[in-house]
Symmetry: C2
Subunit: 389 residues, 2 copies
Amino acid sequence: MSDVSATDGFGLANLPYGVFSTEGQAPRVGVRYGDRVLDLAAALDDPVFSEPTLNAFMSLGRAAWDDTRARVTELLSTQPDHPALIELSDVTLHLPIHVPDYVDFYASEHHASNVGRIFRPDAEPLLPNWKHMPVSYHGRASTVVVSGTDIVRPQGQHKAPDADAPTFGACQRLDVEVELGFVVGMGAELGAPVSGADFAEHVFGAVLLNDWSARDIQAWEYVPLGPHLGKSFATSISPWVVPLAALEAARTSTPPRTHDLLPYLQDGDDWALEIDLELDVNGAVLSRPPYAGMYYSGAQMLAHLTVNGARLNTGDLYGSGTVSGTQLEQRGSLLELSWGGKEPITLPDGSTRTFLEDGDIATIRGSFVGAGGERCSFGEVTGTIVPAR
Amino acid sequence: MSDVSATDGFGLANLPYGVFSTEGQAPRVGVRYGDRVLDLAAALDDPVFSEPTLNAFMSLGRAAWDDTRARVTELLSTQPDHPALIELSDVTLHLPIHVPDYVDFYASEHHASNVGRIFRPDAEPLLPNWKHMPVSYHGRASTVVVSGTDIVRPQGQHKAPDADAPTFGACQRLDVEVELGFVVGMGAELGAPVSGADFAEHVFGAVLLNDWSARDIQAWEYVPLGPHLGKSFATSISPWVVPLAALEAARTSTPPRTHDLLPYLQDGDDWALEIDLELDVNGAVLSRPPYAGMYYSGAQMLAHLTVNGARLNTGDLYGSGTVSGTQLEQRGSLLELSWGGKEPITLPDGSTRTFLEDGDIATIRGSFVGAGGERCSFGEVTGTIVPAR
């Protein structure tokens, strides 16, 4: 049987999970198939799918994930017009996960090097620890929002390099960061580090993630404790969580290394992923960052995150950090594309941008080649900038 | 009527809230009175107190907090042997709050200056932003644990200054940080900053907080994104949340300022707090940090935390940062007391410490003068260091 749904990136090789609602009914779990959503609670008659997030299902562990995927695949293969399929246009999509903790990494060598050159032009672009560990920090879990949520321009302190004192006002350098986000399904107890080899036992899947960044606020606040208010106003994720089972087909190896990694970071080198990303502002594609070049894999990030015994929970989210390639047209942030605001970008309508203006719509898309050569889509994560309040 | 329970710091002027269980019964909300716990679900016949955390009660807002405090005060004044009072020795205490997000500040000028002198001896001790904002970062919400939880020595990367590459192993410089933690009762929506003037509408109370710190891991990882694994293994809090209503009596003004604060940070200057803290290691009091000297108040921290529109949730916890005074015997961390490990501290048993050894017990205590001049106690937050696994 031919899988007509594969043409739009949501065929049988993909089958991502999300949370949706229909008029008058509470949010529940669905699987996207083509332009429709399979209502899992109805199709599989299991109350775990009547929950308003994926967390209860994800907490069941990999055997349950594999079993459900097999059942959904069988069901859609044999009943492509199953009565529990609902048109996408008839549903509202919700934040698919409850996030206990959110961590953001910084795992692209090209991004970290670009940022180093822009902010510290007279020093080595990469700091000494960068090639030894996936550098990372905690973000605000409760401001993770679903694609489509408006982004209110944040206010805060910024200080011009030549000013004596900071001023307060709306962010003047509002930026995007093109990232992949990993969603933890199975947690781990306090004091029980997770090996990179066990990545697929703990991580349920991945989403697109936009780590909105107020560069002027961030630049003034970030020493010595790192970014806080420059990031904590919003982090957007795509509504569909692509299962690791689908991403298996996109696995590749991390890039050659210039420094040996410590043993706890050596497992999971085989979880780099061939994912094509694109950054779109107001309908114009500004860059196409290649995820495959990331220096650290999601498995290595997980091993690092837990090596000190930190507890891991179902729903924990960790971002890859901005994805940038070697080329200008592969840079995953406006900071890099405009080189710190010095080189404006011209949009097709003739207007120019260094950072985002009110009314701008920023969208990240992603796709990969899944099982059987079928193109699989992450869908998109989008947000419109609305004026500061 | 005399209040005999006041002699131990848990009289009628205090009445902190916690979560306790008794043999065979689920955790529920109680108020500490002397050496006993008032079972609130039993005493007030309200299911909000049968919950396993304070969150449901806290989410009701200040009018409900005030009303409950008035009822409990009346009840214990008239029935000091109320049948719902249970001996403290018969209960187990639990983590009193569910923490959606945890932020840690850095609000003691003396601590920030000491750390600056230790880590950057050739530069100005305070960084340029410090006098303009309460510098802060997010920590790991899910590793906030209740007093009495053993602290497993974390493992991680550290690099000696003269080494070419990092090594992996157990932390060699495990430290405490004496802090106060503020507990948010009433949240605020995304995009709705909270004024410092509304502190008492949003913050329910305060706890003692030990921000355990692996100094060697932290020193190597923290540039440029701030502390992560050097902190995320555990943060301990005391089991009793002292209501802001009790702390009102300890209010004072923040210290004189050398720089004008931006308008959004000017409200709440009158929420400095006269709290006496002490740090005890293995039964010896090593320091007595005075909380009153903190440069930023809890109200100012809250205004900063939300000024960019970040959502605030019931149960959010934010730490003050290490409390240190001007004197050596007022320093709130071993890093400062041993001046970066260079000046060992001698304990009463003749042994010396620069940082914590396995088996050490670190305890923070705190108290203040409450209404009517009655001494009120925070109780303590304690933890025993157990060997790395």
